[in-house]
């Protein structure tokens, strides 16, 4: 059994990288391996936006990641500074920054780049999308 860390740089909509990342993650678990963390960086942080509202016949990557995390208890972590720059905030960041609203869903935690580095250190493989 091997340990993976997955980095997602592709946005929630407009790129197919996030879709492939999730398919890869599912396959990692199906093959008996584990995922230390799915780390969302660059435009990848938009995957945590709970206000994502595609039409019912469209793919909702936010909902897919959330369901995946819930079902398999895999941690999803946003890079907090990449997220703040892109208007992706959790309740705590909203309060700290004097904003009335937030959009990052509870299944995604906010963390620093240090979590990526620690994940790389612990993992057997880093795969980026």
């Amino acid at each position: 059994m091997s340990k993976f860390i997955i980095q997602v740089n592709g946005s929630v909509y407009g790129s197919s990288a996030s879709f492939r990342a999730l398919a890869f993650c599912k396959s990692v678990l199906a093959n008996g391996h584990s995922i230390i963390n799915v780390f969302f960086y660059q435009d990848g942080v938009t995957n945590s936006n709970a206000l994502t509202c595609p039409a019912s016949d469209e793919l909702d990557m936010h909902a897919k990641w959330q369901a995946f995390a819930q079902q398999h208890k895999v941690p999803l972590t946003n890079c907090v500074s990449a997220a703040l720059r892109r208007g992706v905030l959790s309740e705590q960041e909203a309060v700290e920054n004097g904003k009335n609203h937030w959009n990052s869903s509870e299944h995604f935690s906010m963390g620093g780049l240090g979590e990526l580095v620690i994940g790389i250190e612990k993992a057997d493989r880093l795969i980026s999308f």
């Binding site: 091997s2 197919s16 492939r20 396959s27 093959n31 880093l126 795969i127 999308f129």
Partner: protein
């Protein structure tokens, strides 16, 4: 022994040509997403002929390219050309020493 993971079209991004500048003979390339389209171009078929190549099946099927890619694969060495699924992708990521996503 590196698996070079290419996700972007060779017509709009230099990821594939940059990776080829630094590739070693025992490395492999995985074409995923729009990167699979380069197989339709003779110049890329030629440049990739001597590389151990993996192509993500979902991405060629999604684009209606499977019959074409299979026909093209016949001209390339079977030993070096593999159409794979996500499970094989996971396996190859572990068989290689690391994966570089360009």
């Amino acid at each position: 022994m590196i698996l070079h993971h290419i996700q972007t079209s060779a017509l709009t991004d230099s990821a594939l040509s940059t990776c080829l500048r630094y590739i070693q003979p025992n490395d492999s390339i995985l074409l995923a997403g729009d990167a699979v389209n380069c197989l339709l171009q003779i110049q890329w078929q030629q440049r990739l002929a001597s590389v151990n190549l993996f192509v993500l099946q979902d991405d060629i099927q999604a684009r209606g390219l499977q019959p074409r890619v299979e026909a093209i694969a016949e001209h390339m060495s079977a030993e070096f050309f593999h159409i794979i699924d996500y499970s094989d992708f996971v396996e190859q990521s572990l068989k290689h020493n690391k994966v570089i996503t360009w």
